[in-house]
Amino acid sequence: MRFFISRLVGGVASIFGASVLGFIFLRLLPANPTRLLLGPLASPAAVRALRLQMGLNRSVPVQYWDYISQFFRGSWGYSYIYGRTVRELIASRLPASLELELCAFAIALFFTLLLALLTTYRPHRFLSGLTRGLALFGQSTPVFWLALVSLVVFVSWLKILPGPNGQLSAGITPPPVTTGMVLIDSLLAGDLTAFWNACEHLVLPAVVLSLPSFGFLVRLLRANLLDVAHEPFLLVARGRGLSRWKTYSRHALPNAALPTLTASGLLLAQMLAGSVFVETIFNWPGVGALVVNSVSNEDYSVVQAFVLLSACAYVVLNVLIDLLSGVLDPRVRRRAA
């Protein structure tokens, strides 16, 4: 319980820190928000009136308080480009992003586990080499380059996947929106054609987005598994009559998986940032593409909300991971308490 509370307090403090930083950075921007809104031809009186209306004449701490209290009350400002509140805008874009990121994360985790297990349970020279190569490739290749090359190869040359036109092809009727994630919505509607089409659209961006995380995670898990393989408690467990597999799955894996678990939480949070490129290149109607658009159009209320939201997501994920590793490793609990 003490462990739980200490983690929670730490999380709240981090969000506070992130919000302060985000706030300060926005103050430091050279752009004058009133001029941005009213345009260069507006009268000084109009500018002054808007300054007053926006509260920009008040002291910085008061402005911060306004901003943060508004944010947590759910009023995140208004997008002048899209003509909708930022909250509506992000809510409409978030499911597509989540769909892409969760799929990418699942792919990264699945292949990490599969290849790390296959290459460490029994030594396998070819698979080990392949895994190391893939990991290096995934980690060292920029995502935007990967995205473009994958489009060239699978769409232009091989012509086995649809082009970068969002979540569904033009001729496909979108399923009724329940969760906002096309994959799930089409299944709920029983529309297999749409589901398959959605899968075809998802596979490339998801795989591209998953590669850097996969590269990092598989190296980490493999290193930890190889490390833990020398631990005497595995030998002793075998001496108790456990099979190789049971020793591996019950003792080696849980011990080796802890650092991977922590890292995977961080990577999931980082995918939010990585998806900005991938969403833009694949015309994915997610938050990342929205933010890129907003930055180039100086639609700062969207950017500001995105920054704080991703900080929140980052912190929440980290707290969750911390708690989970506390459940899995009793030593973590003691160190924190």
């Binding site: 002793v236 009559g241 011990n255």
Partner: protein, 341 residues
């Protein structure tokens, strides 16, 4: 009980050879080792670090893994041959008929699993039919047996919440969960301080006595051997160089290595007067063992003697119950040893 007239051997190891195939060649860790163990017998195996003690223990358990291989020999446990048995058969034997007590209890327990989980695993692995509640009762019983206070409550603790001595008790409890015929204790007390050592040894002695369990106690601590074992084998460079009952070995050591080992036990009087006694030189490289006696380069007796360099000594059974691998087993080292001091 004498190991020299086998009556009811529970473990028969014959000409066991284990090697590790590494890049620079074959390391012969166990070179032609044979011994028998009677029911309830306590055999001590003594030797320096790296002499092949642990490799021998693992070979007997069938736990040698590549690059290690058992090259030749046989291990018979209550009549059943273990060498060459597939792992799925060996699994049924390990932990039930023959168990391992590992040297460092803090490394022998999985840090992310509770003590109870270790015991339950040991119990249920060989008894699939036992229910959760019954297994738990048995775990508490085992923990009480090894004199862990508040057994019921401490079942839920994790290894890091136990002291070193208590951890070793848990390891012993796991090893004895199915009342095995043979227990191999690989340096069971090295990681403990002296008073805890004595407690754990006494406990182990009582438990194996009650169960008539035979023990192979591997150690480099001669004091422990003197206290605990019926018979002793002295291991050097992967071979047994001297075998005798504990009493005989300690009163009349025949092999120069044994004498040197006994001579290098620190005594308070010596500590006050001079440097710690030690055996000069270092053990041979087991990747390139020559034709002669492996101890010859460090041996005081072999100086200037051709035969020690060229021929490995045979080990006939002597009238005093000794088996000694030395060409000059009858010589007394006392004079030589005095000269060097």
């Amino acid at each position: 009980m004498s190991a020299l007239q086998p009556s009811n051997p529970v473990l028969v190891v014959a000409s066991l050879q284990t090697e590790f195939r590494i890049a620079r060649g074959k390391v012969q860790a166990v070179r032609d080792v044979s011994f028998t163990l009677e029911q309830g017998e306590r055999l001590g195996i003594v030797g320096e670090s790296g002499c092949g003690k642990s490799a021998m223990a693992l070979s007997i358990m069938g736990l040698i893994e590549p690059p290690g291989f058992i090259v030749a020999g046989s291990v018979k446990l209550v009549g059943q041959e273990l060498v060459g048995l597939p792992d799925r058969r060996l699994r049924k034997i390990r932990g039930r008929e023959i168990s391992l007590i590992y040297q460092d209890a803090s490394a022998a327990l999985d840090p992310v699993r509770s003590i109870g989980a270790h015991l339950l695993e040991a119990i249920r692995n060989h008894d699939a039919t036992i229910g959760r509640a019954a297994a738990r009762r048995r775990a508490v019983e085992l923990l009480r047996d090894v004199e862990v206070p508040n057994a019921e409550r401490r079942l839920n603790d994790y290894p890091h919440q136990y002291s070193g001595g208590m951890r070793q008790r848990v390891v012993i409890a796991c090893a004895l969960a199915h009342e095995p015929t043979v227990v191999i204790a690989d340096e069971p007390t090295t990681a403990l301080d002296v008073t805890t050592q004595a407690q754990v040894l006494t406990l182990l002695g009582r438990l194996v006595e009650e169960r008539r369990t035979a023990v192979v106690l591997i150690t480099h601590n001669l004091g422990i051997v003197a206290e605990f074992c019926d018979t002793v084998r002295v291991m050097y460079a992967g071979r047994f160089v001297e075998q005798a009952s504990t009493e005989t070995l300690f009163t009349t050591p025949r092999h120069p290595y044994t004498s040197a080992l006994l001579g290098s036990v620190p005594r308070v009087k010596q500590l006050l007067t001079g440097p710690l006694p030690a055996i000069g030189g270092s053990p041979p490289d087991l990747a390139s063992v020559g034709p002669g006696c492996a101890f010859a380069p460090r041996c005081l007796r072999s100086r200037g003697r051709e035969i020690c360099q060229t021929t490995a000594p045979a080990a006939p059974l002597r009238t005093d119950g000794h088996i000694v691998e030395c060409h000059f087993a009858d010589e007394d080292d006392a004079i030589l040893a005095d000269e060097t001091q």
